[in-house]
């Protein structure tokens, strides 16, 4: 069993608190991705789990054992670095077997493990090559191989795909997921790329300013973000945020965006939103929930007409940009229904997916 637990973990660099009392439970074999913008503390958290940074306060345990004071080699972890960190004077085989040699494994077992890992990663033909004779993707596979052969309790990945080009990144992402399915091991993966986080993770931990904003499955984070930060960070293109006001009239509750646009609030949310009537709130709506009307003319008030500022055809969909209440908003429409920039287009807001945010606290209501 290799569950990883962080209890009130704090990391300070002088006066700067990089990680602020975080708590996290990662069950055995789970693939957890720490995601957040640069400087949010995700890499520091990973490095504390690895033993490369000391914990200022709090406890980190692996398999129930507190490992705060254990050196990295005794934590039974393996790490894949952003820039591969392969030993340049060693072949791929030597790189992968280095840790096992230091641990005095028998030669036969070393060979067996390296060949097995090479087979999983499809790098058997590359074992005699030195890192400089390998491409970026191949180097990253060797780095993963070095981690796999150790058969550790926990895999740690520190932005392993950041240095690869876009195409290779997608390929390696699938590779990492495939490897995790084959080699079931608790994995902590750090990235600033929310697409990577969403596609790889069993659960995603969104961090900001050294704190955990939200922990959840990719679907939970996408559909039920708890804060404006999470709502804006997860999803691409990012969620639109528009200042608005909640109103109550005879027809029900409305989100007043401007003089012309007032979106109906789904009735199941009325009770939740009641305390905010008459107050300014922020409407959050993802571009994929602003589309051309798809309801056969049955308008419940969530259709509106806007003049398009910019139109970006992407092939399978078209992004349309328009301004409401001084805020630029992005919508996602079928290519066939898009009009040219400058023209007026009727759009539909899928209010079942809207989020209202308290602007004071940044919390989703």
């Amino acid at each position: 069993m290799a569950e990883v637990t962080l209890r009130n973990v704090v990391k300070s660099f002088g006066d700067v608190e990089a990680v602020r009392s975080i708590n996290l439970d990662i069950p055995d074999n789970e693939f957890v991705v720490l995601v957040g913008p640069s400087g949010c503390g995700k890499s520091t958290t990973l490095r504390m789990i690895a033993g490369l940074e000391e914990v200022t306060s709090g406890d980190i345990s692996i398999g129930g054992e507190v490992i705060n004071d254990l050196p990295p080699k005794d934590r039974d972890i393996a790490m894949v670095f952003q820039n591969y960190a392969l030993y340049p004077h060693m072949t791929a085989f030597e790189n992968m077997s280095f840790g096992l040699k230091l641990r005095k494994f028998p030669k036969n077992e070393i060979r067996q493990r390296v060949e097995h890992a090479a087979h999983i990663l499809d790098i058997t033909e590359l074992l005699d090559r030195r890192p400089k004779a390998l491409s970026g993707g191949q180097r990253q596979r060797v780095a993963m191989g070095r981690a796999i052969v150790r058969n550790p309790k926990v895999f740690l990945f520190d932005e392993p795909l950041s240095n690869l080009d876009a195409k290779l990144r997608v390929q390696m992402r699938t590779e990492i997921k495939r490897v995790h399915q084959k080699v079931k091991t608790t994995t902590v993966y750090v990235t600033h790329d929310q697409v990577e986080a969403m596609t790889l993770a069993d659960r995603v931990v969104v961090m900001n300013h050294g704190r955990i904003e939200q922990i959840g499955t990719p679907q939970e984070l996408y559909h039920q973000p708890r804060t404006r930060f999470v709502a804006g960070f997860i999803g691409s293109p990012a969620m639109n945020f528009v200042p608005c006001q909640l109103e109550q009239n005879s027809a029900g509750m409305l989100v007043r965006v401007d003089d012309k646009i007032a979106l109906p609030v789904p009735t199941d949310r009325s009770a939740r939103y009641q305390p905010f009537i008459g107050k300014p709130v922020t409407l959050g709506l993802r571009p994929e929930h602003i589309t051309e009307p798809r309801h056969n003319g049955r308008n419940d008030g969530s259709d509106f007409a806007v003049t398009l500022d910019v139109v970006e055809p992407l092939g399978m969909e078209t992004m349309v940009f328009f301004t409401v209440n001084g805020t630029e908003i992005c919508g996602r429409v079928e290519p066939s229904s898009a009009v040219d920039a400058g023209a007026t287009m009727r759009l539909h807001a899928n209010v079942d997916h809207m989020h209202l945010i308290d602007p004071a606290s940044g919390v989703v209501i």
Binding site: K73, I77, M79, Y84, A85, H89, N163
Partner: protein, 299 residues
């Protein structure tokens, strides 16, 4: 329309590349002119040494002959006399012993010091590193006075083992400085990967840092070798009997007697003395320049 669009940049490209070629040709011509001038300038002394060492004493002494050519026939007499009738081979042996010991001591001390100062951050490591380099700036012409007292107190005056002790004062600071730079240029992820793989600091140094920093180590070795092979002030001050003398001072003191210069043997001795550094430079220079760190990290 499309033809015109293609034709215009194509015409521009031709003009641009011609101009580039012309620039490159001029740059090459100027480079070669300077290279030839410098090559002649620096090759003249060794050429003069070779020519003089292959002449007989009579030809060297004859003022009317052309000093740049061997007119009376090539002879190896100067080398024969040097090896058989002088203490040159003793000087050579002493120099080899001193140099090998100094290089070994220097490399052990400076690699360990540089690893500690460059990679294992501790309080004051930066100041210490600068301090070590500053000691290199004190010239040996000043240092030999206090060192004389130390060498004398240790009973190593007039012993080439004294040189093994004092030469590192010249070599260790600079070699440590070179190695600090090399060790610092190695990505920190390599030690982190080694730590996670289970390496201790000594294993990390021996199995990762030394192989990766080999170009730096070779550079430092060449420096230590050159300094101890060519040192003059310390042996001049601390050694005075022929059996303890080293090449630099020994050759000069035994082959210049008052105002009598044995030019032929001096040149032959200088040539033989220059051979080991030359061979070492020739063999290690490529390795020294190549660098092994390619592929360690991205890029």
């Amino acid at each position: 329309m499309s033809t015109a669009t293609v034709a215009i940049p194509a015409a521009k490209r031709v003009g641009f590349s011609t101009s580039l070629r012309r620039n490159r040709r001029w740059a090459l011509v100027v480079s070669y002119v300077f290279l030839i001038v410098f090559a002649i300038f620096f090759l003249m002394p060794p050429y003069y040494m070779i020519v003089t060492s292959l002449k007989s004493d009579a030809e060297v002494a004859h003022m009317a002959t052309n000093p740049w050519i061997v007119a009376d026939g090539v002879t190896l007499d100067q080398f024969k006399i040097l090896f058989t009738q002088t203490d040159f081979l003793i000087y050579f042996k002493n120099t080899v012993i001193v140099t090998l010991c100094v290089v070994a001591i220097t490399m052990v001390v400076s690699v360990l010091a540089a690893f500690a100062l460059g990679r294992m951050r501790f309080w004051g490591s930066g100041i210490l590193a600068t301090g070590i380099f500053l000691t290199y700036l004190v010239p040996d012409t000043l240092l030999f006075i206090p060192l004389f007292q130390i060498v004398k107190a240790l009973g190593l005056l007039n012993s080439y083992w004294g040189m093994v002790l004092v030469y590192p004062t010249l070599t260790v600071p600079f070699c440590t400085w070179i190695m600090i730079g090399y060790f610092q240029s190695i990505p920190k992820e390599l030690d982190e990967a080694a730590l996670i793989d289970g390496a201790g600091h000594m294993q990390m140094l021996l199995k990762i840092f030394i192989p990766v920093a080999l170009p730096g180590i070779i550079a430092a070795t060449i420096f230590a070798f050159t300094v101890s092979w060519a040192a003059f002030v310390y042996p001049m001050a601390f050694l005075y009997s022929a059996d303890q003398q080293v090449l630099t001072v020994g050759t000069v003191t035994s082959l210049i007697r008052g105002d009598v210069y044995k030019w032929g043997m001096l040149m032959a001795g200088a040539l033989v003395a220059a051979a080991p550094p030359l061979v070492i430079y020739a063999f290690l220079m490529d390795y020294y320049i190549a660098g092994l760190t390619a592929g360690a990290t991205k890029g």
